[in-house]
């Protein structure tokens, strides 16, 4: 008796399982075909870091090196600057090795002048390791882009 019970319950379970599978077959596929279709994301998405800029296109960075000191990967961000005649800080070099960056966002959080921001660009695949060392030109966003990003983030908060 026990034996027959076991068999019948087994058959019913398999039948239920197959019905389940058939039920799920009519759901739309969840695949996102990446290069053509891109997933939607929220403005908070942490892509690589980027430098914001003022209206006149200059960087907001004042070379305080806060970001360097909170970065988990010691010598990742490299900043060089000089002061011009008015005492303004001019950034000569701002480079980051994105191959080693863990995109944690610490530097953005600490930045006192909001000179750094997380861009929404997450497509960082390159053929060469050295292509991932981003210089100031690659990192800098235009004024419009900056405003757009900041607005998105503000809307969000």
């Amino acid at each position: 008796m026990e034996f027959i019970k076991k068999i019948t319950s087994g058959i019913i379970a398999i039948k239920n399982g197959m019905e389940m599978i058939a039920k799920h077959a009519f759901r739309p596929a969840i695949t996102v075909e990446y290069p053509e279709v891109k997933d939607e994301f929220n403005a908070r998405l942490r892509g690589h870091i980027a430098l914001t800029s003022n209206e006149d296109g200059s960087s907001k960075c004042i070379d305080c090196k806060s970001c360097v000191r909170v970065c988990p990967c010691s010598d990742l961000i490299k900043i060089k600057s000089h002061k011009d005649s008015d005492g303004q800080v001019i950034i000569d070099r701002f480079s980051i090795d994105l191959g080693r960056c863990i995109v944690c966002g610490n530097c953005v959080d600490i930045c006192p002048k909001n000179a750094l921001i997380m861009s929404n660009n997450y497509e960082l695949a390159k053929y060469n390791k050295n292509d991932l060392i981003f210089e100031i030109d690659d990192l800098k966003l235009s004024y419009e882009e900056t405003q757009h990003l900041l607005k998105e983030l503000e809307k969000d908060l």
Partner: protein, 352 residues
């Protein structure tokens, strides 16, 4: 047809003996072509169908709807480097895929695709088919042994144990059909089930279930895919194979899937005969000559029904364990198949 074929030779001013000699070869060429095409289609079908069941999209990059995906895969496999690992039995290693492949191909010749459309119309076709198809296990064993890989040898040992223990219930449940139909000729078995009420699945439903389960085991498919259990044995006996040799294994597996499904249809679901008794083409005098097309259509549609059922179970079930597999066969299926045989024999004796 034969006359037409010979006329072609005289028309092309080729010697007549060439036509006489080549005539019996034609079905085999046809079968080989059919088999390769079928496998290409089946692989695509399986991938697409499984994708449908598991809410994915499946291959959709090569060609429209990914239709040429398997062709691309086949070309890739053909051009791949043929690696023979060191310390392997080189001869056995190379022969094994062929040994695995050939019985499956030979078995295609025994399937009646339409009335009298069968390459080898043997009077004991059923037994011959079962006998030939069980040879392919040798290929698996030698592949596993020759690879000099521990996963492979485990997989090969599993597959041999599995094939031998599932052969018995398989043959016994097929015997029920022999009892019912009184013949071993597959063509005649199919002829014996003229409409849906004459199908042998009704008198021997138990036999059908046993045959289906054993087929899954013979084909090494889920839930009996222990010889190539991916999560346990990486990929079992074909771990070391690559390129064309791997393609042969792959080809043979899917070819066997089709052939066993066709066998199930022939034995239990009326084979090429229409489920409604008569044929649509049979009513129309023009089309009577190509009635075999309709018959082939019925066989194919039923076969694909069975294939889809097998794929569906693949999406549903987990894998059995080796000892459970054995005890399931010897302690459960074998007594059950004897019971089935007895039942069928009694049915035949008393009802006729």
């Amino acid at each position: 047809m034969y006359d037409l074929y010979l006329k072609l030779f005289t028309y092309l001013s080729l010697p007549k003996w060439l036509g006489i000699v080549s005539w019996p070869v034609i079905p085999f060429i046809g079968i080989a072509a059919l088999m390769v095409l079928m496998v290409l289609f089946l692989v695509l079908l399986e991938r697409k169908f499984l994708a449908l069941l598991t809410i994915r999209k499946g291959p959709n990059r090569v060609g429209p709807y990914g239709l040429f995906q398997t062709v691309a895969d086949a070309i890739k496999l053909l051009f791949k480097e043929d690696i023979i690992p060191t310390n392997t039995e080189k001869i056995l290693f190379s022969i094994a895929p062929v040994v695995f492949f050939f019985p499956v191909m030979a078995v295609y010749g025994l399937i009646p695709f339409a009335h009298n459309w069968v390459a080898i119309n043997a009077s004991c076709g059923l037994i011959l088919m079962l006998a030939i198809s069980s040879v392919s296990i040798l290929g698996l064993l030698s592949a596993g042994w020759a690879s000099n890989n521990k996963y492979s040898i485990l997989g090969a040992m599993r597959s041999v144990a599995q094939a031998i223990s599932y052969e018995l219930p398989l043959v016994l449940s097929a015997l029920g059909i022999v009892v019912l139909s009184g013949t071993m000729n597959l063509n005649k078995i199919a002829l014996g089930q003229e409409n849906i009420f004459g199908w042998y699945i009704f008198p021997s439903f138990l036999g059908f279930i046993i045959f289906l389960i054993c087929t899954l085991a013979e084909l090494n498919r889920v839930p009996f895919d222990l010889p190539e259990a991916e999560s346990e044995l990486v990929s079992g006996y074909n771990t070391e194979y690559s390129g064309m040799k791997f393609a042969l294994f792959f080809l043979a597996e899917y070819a066997a899937l089709f052939v066993y499904s066709a066998l199930i249809v022939t034995l239990f679901l009326g084979g090429y005969s229409s489920p409604f008794g008569g044929y649509i083409f049979g009513f129309l005098p023009y089309l009577k000559k190509i009635i075999f097309l309709e018959q082939a259509f019925w066989l194919m549609s039923k076969t694909f029904g069975i294939i889809l059922l097998i794929m569906w179970t693949r999406a549903t079930l987990p894998r059995l364990r080796a000892d459970q597999l054995m005890s399931f066969s010897w302690k459960f299926l074998l007594p059950l198949s004897f019971l089935n045989l007895l039942f069928v024999a009694l049915l035949k004796y008393f009802i006729g």
